[in-house]
């Protein structure tokens, strides 16, 4: 389950950019080829790739990074400083902060990537159709988005997570992913829509239409690649936000359940005791920050490489 998700995750950015590649693969110097040439030279890209790879590795095989058991906790070590294998010290429950941070990666990454992918797919479908077709379709889809946006996140989140995970032995991961995915696609859809509206009136779309391209071809081959810049930015940010929002859901008792470990949970638990011990708050936050940074830089780099306008 988890490995499947991390694989789709690694491919996700590539999938978004796969369209233009196929469209022009018959040419000698394809857009993808150009992009790859650009990317290879970009230091930021490689930095981001290394970071993302490290985090994915951590999510897949946490035991590579630590031999300690994250669930072995003892109150008599409460907030103790670093010692032996526990290089980040111990948290309020006397658990090894380093081990918990490493093991927390899996749930956080799965939640972040899977929910963002879900939100992205729904967002593309809604935004693209709405912006491209305009008129009645736009009106209906926009109103659906309005309804979605006007429903408070908390209400829908609580209801969805409570009703989606009725099995008491389930750790609530799927429910959290579905909840976040189903509730956060609206901003990406709206950004997509306005980008499509803006690029629809561009000359190349008019030219494509005159040459007889159908709506499907126009949407996916011409408008989507050219509208995707802001969209990728919103998505990479959403990824970071969703990893953090998981913490808020857990805080309300509807997030990950039982003894699930995640950065979000660690951060919200550490906050209350920030004045007494900062380690349990700071370390997971640093890992979360670096992960979000890596994904955003990756998104930026890929977008820059693929966007012909930025060449």
């Amino acid at each position: 389950m988890s490995d499947m998700n991390s694989v789709t995750a690694a491919e996700a950015p590539e999938k978004l950019s796969a369209q233009p590649r196929r469209g022009k693969s018959d040419k000698n110097r394809s857009l993808a080829g150009d992009a790859w040439n650009d990317l290879r030279k970009s230091k930021i890209f490689w930095f981001a790739v290394v970071l993302v790879a490290a985090v994915l590795l951590m999510a897949a095989w946490p035991s590579l990074f630590t031999s300690a058991d994250p669930n072995e906790c003892a109150l008599n070590r409460k907030h103790a400083g670093p010692s032996g294998g526990a290089i980040f010290g111990y948290d309020f429950q006397g658990c090894d902060v380093y081990a918990r941070t490493i093991y927390g990666a899996r749930n956080s990454i799965i939640v972040g990537i899977a929910s963002t992918a879900l939100a992205g797919i729904i967002g593309i479908i809604f935004g693209l159709s709405s912006g491209y077709f305009g008129g009645a379709v736009d009106a209906v889809l926009s109103r659906i988005i309005d309804i979605m946006l006007s429903i408070p996140f908390l209400l829908a989140g609580i209801v969805l997570s409570r009703r989606l995970s009725s099995d008491p032995n389930d750790n609530g991961l799927l429910a959290v992913i579905l909840t976040l995915g189903l509730l956060t696609w609206t901003s990406s859809a709206r950004v997509m829509r306005s980008a499509v509206i803006a690029s629809k009136s561009q000359d190349y779309v008019a030219a494509g239409r005159m040459l007889g391209a159908g709506p499907g071809r126009l949407m996916f081959r011409h408008i989507l690649p050219n509208s995707i810049a802001s969209f990728i930015v919103v998505l990479t940010i959403l990824l970071g936000v969703n990893i953090g929002v998981e913490a808020t859901l857990s805080f309300l008792g509807v997030g990950l359940k039982g003894d699930a470990i995640s950065w979000g949970i660690a951060i919200s638990e550490g906050t209350g005791f920030a004045r007494v011990a900062s380690g349990p708050l700071v370390w997971p936050a640093v890992f979360l920050g670096l992960t979000v940074l890596a994904f955003i830089m990756l998104g930026d780099a890929i977008r820059d490489a693929f966007d012909p306008k930025l060449r």
Binding site: N76, Q93, F273
Partner: protein
């Protein structure tokens, strides 16, 4: 088109937004700073009608507006306050309450016996849906004031009106005498009369017989040392001011501002910053820094909160008493009170709180002593379940200690233990009612009146209102009942202690901790004390300058 220059529009919009954000502000009241008043933090009360007030926030506010029939002394024995005398007949069934003369309501009405009778009848009448209605159930005629839905709760039929509107057991003999006839003898009934629901209501409260006047709750009129200043400002504050020529004990301050907070942490922030004078319960996260922040203005006093976990009887894996004993022995209570609660709670080793008469230390005996080796032995012998769960409500401050308890159980018994948070207590109850395998359930109890019976009855008797785990023992029920009808409080206590001994053998719940008030106050006030009911003593508190 809307305009040639979008930029001017944007600037204009910003200006409008700022203007809108700014308007309506600036009329802050600074006048209270110099007068002799104090501010005390509470959460928004659900209600302020005495018979509908069962949570501590409303009860605290009402304590300033009303003067009770009885209050409790240092030994937690009831002493007459607004009552001149409260005397039972020989069988402890009919009680006669004589009122002290001269008291008036804030609107000038004299306080007479009928005021009490009217208020209590209103509270007891089922269709009024008053939260404190169950307090009147020991008075004769209570059953006739309740209605039964003929086709169950889900059915479409409306419930018929109850048979009667007035309790037959209540009578105002004259203006200063109330006669209360109980359904069954109860030697300690006097203690019950100290609770919030037994306050009187003035004639002005009712628009017709048995009908509360609209808006009365927002501008409530009591018989206490303080009266409402203005109305209840929901979610903001409730201001009260001293009553001139109060006949009872006179407070040393001129008024109180009950400041309403949504979260304890916000309240604490205001306390430290000096914007609030008293906080009666400092949140767990702030305990570590409270001594540094407040110095000796950070204090503790006992209260009646009893924290425990229950074993649902519908889960067969807990039916062996050795499993229950083993889990109890696997918990190091001292470590949790020291590390998680920083000494603000104390380990509980009995089934009632230490604040009630008849409490004995360590009735739980070896079962509540931390002994991981013996625990493991018992658990293995009884083939206890390999997976344990402790279910709690995530909207309360429970995660930290539940996780810690689970870690201890894990370490001692070598089984997996997880804390499961449900969004709120009602969700937990729903799961228990559906008999879902919730594992151990987190529970707590705050007493209504200082009697052992107030723990034993609701928590462990078969029909107990908070016996969510379904414990039932006929001998226990009989002993509690015998205690209630015993001739003297001493005899009652003896019976109740016998009942408690049964609990110690059967371990239907694991006693964990007795809570305390951990309160703090600002430099502006002194002589601050918080009583068993988590209320500030309003007659002692003073301003320093």
């Amino acid at each position: 088109m809307l305009g040639k220059s979008p930029w001017k529009m944007a600037v204009g919009a910003t200006a409008i937004a700022l203007l809108a954000a700014g308007c309506g502000s600036g009329d802050s009241e600074e006048s209270t700073a110099t007068s002799n008043t104090v501010s005390i933090g509470i959460a928004e009360p659900q209600h302020l009608i005495p018979t509908n007030t069962t949570e501590s926030n409303g009860a605290e506010v009402l304590a300033s507006l009303f003067y009770p029939l009885v209050d409790f002394n240092e030994q937690n024995e009831p002493v007459e306050v607004a009552a001149e005398s409260i005397t039972p007949d020989k069988t402890n069934t009919t009680w006669t309450v004589k009122l002290k003369p001269g008291f008036t309501f804030h609107n000038g009405e004299p306080v007479i016996a009928q005021n009490y009778v009217d208020a209590w009848n209103y509270g007891a009448y089922g269709p009024n849906g008053q939260g404190g209605s169950y307090f009147f159930s020991s008075i004769a005629g209570y059953a006739d004031l309740q209605s039964k839905d003929p086709d169950g709760e889900e059915g479409p039929q409306k419930a018929p009106d109850p048979k009667a509107k007035k309790l037959t057991g209540l009578k105002a003999v004259d203006d200063s005498t109330i006669e209360i006839k109980l359904a069954a003898p109860f030697a300690s009934f006097k203690s019950v009369l100290g609770y919030t629901v037994f306050y009187p209501l003035p004639k002005a409260a009712f628009s017709a017989d048995g009908v509360l006047a609209e808006g009365f709750e927002d501008a409530i009129i009591g018989n206490g040392p303080f009266k409402m200043k203005g109305t209840w400002q929901h979610d903001a504050q409730i201001q009260v001011e001293k009553v001139a020529d109060f006949k009872g004990q006179v407070p040393k301050i001129d008024g109180i501002t009950w400041k309403i907070y949504q979260e304890d942490s916000a309240q604490y922030a205001d306390l430290v910053a000096g914007n609030l004078d008293v906080q009666t319960q400092i949140p767990i996260e702030s305990l570590a820094s409270a001594s540094a922040d407040l110095g000796d203005r950070f204090q503790k006093s006992p209260n009646s909160t009893f924290q425990f976990v229950g074993f649902p009887t519908f889960q067969k894996e807990f039916s062996d008493v050795r499993v229950r004993q083993a889990i109890s022995m696997a918990i190091n209570r001292q470590e949790i009170t020291d590390q998680v609660f920083l000494g603000s709670q104390t380990p509980a080793t009995s089934f009632v709180s230490p604040v009630v008469a008849g409490y004995r230390e360590n009735t739980c005996g070896d079962n509540c002593k931390y002994d991981p080796a013996k625990a493991k032995e018992l658990y293995t012998a009884a083939k206890g379940p390999a997976e344990l769960k402790i279910t709690y409500n995530a909207d309360g401050p429970h995660k930290a200690w539940v996780d810690a308890t689970c870690n201890q159980i894990k370490a001692a018994l070598g089984v997996n233990c997880t804390g499961v948070g449900e969004p709120k207590f009602a969700d937990l109850l729903t799961k228990v009612e559906k008999k879902e395998p919730v594992g151990l359930i987190r529970l707590g109890w705050i007493m209504d009146y200082p009697l052992m019976e107030n723990y034993l009855g609701p928590l462990y008797s078969t029909e107990g209102s908070s016996n969510y785990y379904g414990y039932s023992n006929a001998d226990f029920d009989r002993l509690v009942e015998e205690g209630r009808s015993a001739a003297t409080p001493e005899e009652a206590i003896a019976k109740w202690q016998q009942a408690e001994d049964i609990l110690a053998k059967e371990m239907p719940v694991i006693p964990l901790r007795n809570a305390q008030n951990v309160f703090g106050y600002s430099e502006n006030v002194t002589n601050v004390s918080v009583d068993l009911f988590q209320k500030v003593n309003l007659y002692e508190i003073e301003r320093t300058s």
